[in-house]
Symmetry: C2
Subunit: 479 residues, 2 copies
Amino acid sequence: MAGYRGPAEPLRYQIVEQRIVALIESGALAPGTKAPSLRETAQSTGVSLTTATQAYAILEQRGVLEARPRSGYFVRRQPDNLPSAGTPQSEEPAVHVVRRGELIRRAMDVMGREGILPLGLAQVSPELLPDKDMGRVLASVLRRQPTRSANYGQVAGCPELRSQIARRLALAGVSAAPEELITTCGATEALSMALRVLTHPGDTVLIAAPTYHFFLQMIEVLGLRVVEIPSHPATGISLHELTAALDRFSIAACVLSPTWNNPDGSLMAADDKRALVEILTARNVPLIEDDVYGDITFQGARPPACKAFDRHGVVTLVSSFSKALAPGYRTGYLLPGQGLGGRMLELKAMTTFASVTPVELAVAEYLEKGLYERHLLRLNRALREQVDAMRAAVAQYFPPGTRATHPRGGFMLWVELPEDAATGTTLYHRAAAEGIGISPGMLFGMTDRFERFVRLNCGLVMNEEVRRSIKRLGQLARG
Amino acid sequence: MAGYRGPAEPLRYQIVEQRIVALIESGALAPGTKAPSLRETAQSTGVSLTTATQAYAILEQRGVLEARPRSGYFVRRQPDNLPSAGTPQSEEPAVHVVRRGELIRRAMDVMGREGILPLGLAQVSPELLPDKDMGRVLASVLRRQPTRSANYGQVAGCPELRSQIARRLALAGVSAAPEELITTCGATEALSMALRVLTHPGDTVLIAAPTYHFFLQMIEVLGLRVVEIPSHPATGISLHELTAALDRFSIAACVLSPTWNNPDGSLMAADDKRALVEILTARNVPLIEDDVYGDITFQGARPPACKAFDRHGVVTLVSSFSKALAPGYRTGYLLPGQGLGGRMLELKAMTTFASVTPVELAVAEYLEKGLYERHLLRLNRALREQVDAMRAAVAQYFPPGTRATHPRGGFMLWVELPEDAATGTTLYHRAAAEGIGISPGMLFGMTDRFERFVRLNCGLVMNEEVRRSIKRLGQLARG
């Protein structure tokens, strides 16, 4: 650890955490009652308002408190007794040559097989998606605009769709002109384009630990190296450790999912997002902000994107409609950082040339009619319930000492097995042999620090088969 | 030219050409009568059968002879008096760093503008495409398979479509298992994937001169360099010059369109394709074979692809349904060379992840029902007539001394202006100012050798507007 100082801030959160837990345990705060306001707590514990806010987020993430829009924080009525998954151990940051591809490919191959329950994938049950409505809109576009549908659209994408995306980005606090946007074949093409424009083989990019394994695969294919910054399930990456890494390494770009990071479900607070953008702007390090889970926010308005705080164009935002609407339509998009639009547009022309015209017209119409907004309300309600049901099932069936995140968006549960249980990798192998696909924690980082973790997909409707599989996973996880 | 010997072979073609032209001019061969067989001509002129075959191809290309399937060659009844565009001047081959992007981008920008007649693009009139039928098939897929349509397909592409493509490839003499094929977002993604797997930035690739300007753009974006091999409008690239270039330069891959090269409409003879594959196999240099125009063959069966002669897997074939069926559906594919399938599949996963499911299902069904085959018959008849009409209009309106190709497939006319006319670039600028888009020859090569050329799109239905524009181009081309 020579020359490197770990973060000091968590000690200050803990003052608040301990105070609130003591109030509950003493009975002074009964289940269902309102917790002291952030301002009161900050004053009574002597911490800043920011620290109190972060402490409450952690308490919410642990299932102790519950946020109600415009009403404040309440003590949860039915805590599921599943402790929060912790911050990953801090490790000496280092530049890693990524060689995770083979491991990830083998695991993904197992999880994608027919007859394997897809608890290891990142997708929702088909019955939660509006496939018939979406198909009807597309069929109607084909009937009304047959010639336009069959022919090349603009390289940057169909103008109607770019307008609708610009309107939706406003909900994330992002002001973008439709002309600035480029549609892509899923967020995959957007991320690949952003990385290809911003980096050269051999460059180092900064990522979160844990991070989506797909980022690791893409980084490996592009011949890049990585530096990992720990992500806390409640608050996302540590800005302190990020700053230290930027001081120490030459970073070509950061690739982060500040809103509902996959797999740990973390959300960076708005103030942290603003600070992140300021730090990166000051050092002229670009951020590729993956926002694919932004729309999947369980309660209240979706959080602002980092791009909302980006006054100097350091952020390139990538996203898609693959998670919440129609994975098979491959409709993604890209909002390039300052001065990058021309090169990204040229790269799109040289990668896929243009997007599928009828599909873009149909998604634009689905959005324009307000159908997407209505669908999201239903979807987010279902996903929230499924996350709660998954947590309850894990609390019931997994070995004592198991911990899990409490995501308030996205649909991944990040589960930490206790020391005396099987490792994540062992559990993954045992489960695969019985037709249950889960993602071992090792896929989500460059070192062994996630050996005790597994990621569970809460996108599946919680039916008897899923419940039985969780029960079986709990048995397989023992010893 | 130190150390480099130009090709000697054209002199031998000329013996045959002169003999046949003399027979016609003397009246011994009347218009509409059968020409001497290849064997007779080979014997009477003392050349090999291969040389006689190539000479007849040149005579056909010049509009002197006409091939009739299973009947041999006939003297054309109505020669349009438009002499053949010649072989490009042989130049000292050299490695070029590609910096054509800006020039091409500016020209494409002009040609894509609204209100500009798209004689400069490579696309057919929308009324020649079966947009309504194709749309009905897609709508029917959405109705019958709503859930599958909305969800992720396989990374390699929808199995039904890969089966249909494998069946079609058999028509090109290519035997491929559906499992070997990877579908892509147009031939663009296929070509980009093939180049990214086979080359590294700084490598040199071999291309034809002239070549499709899009290849030059992609090569520039990927940081590659090129060596150009002259292409003759009748016979394609010179194998002699190709061999000399392979001896002299380290070539990472060849990118060629051996069937109806864009812009010169050349077709390599089957024997030349076989020889090309043998030369490349012996030297272990991969070929990326662009076959996007293979289906657009005016008479008889489509020619075999180079891939048909590829016993050792040196050829990666790329193609699409964008030219003949539905540009806006972005349905392309890739048949990887030996040992490349895994890396190409991984690169697809990291570039677009998967293709648009409902579109792939619809194209598969369109093919499976035999609708594509029926459509091609109509389309190729129309395109053949349009090429003839365009040649006739150019012969009528362009300055005396203008020469043009006589393509028997594809839909590009490659026109060479006489010395005393405007250059291709001047004509392009003058035409653009009057709302007529054409492609200047300079876009199709790395040196100035195509300064006197323009490429005209015969994909447009020959209506009064197109005819008037050709007449106006002829006026603008003077002096």
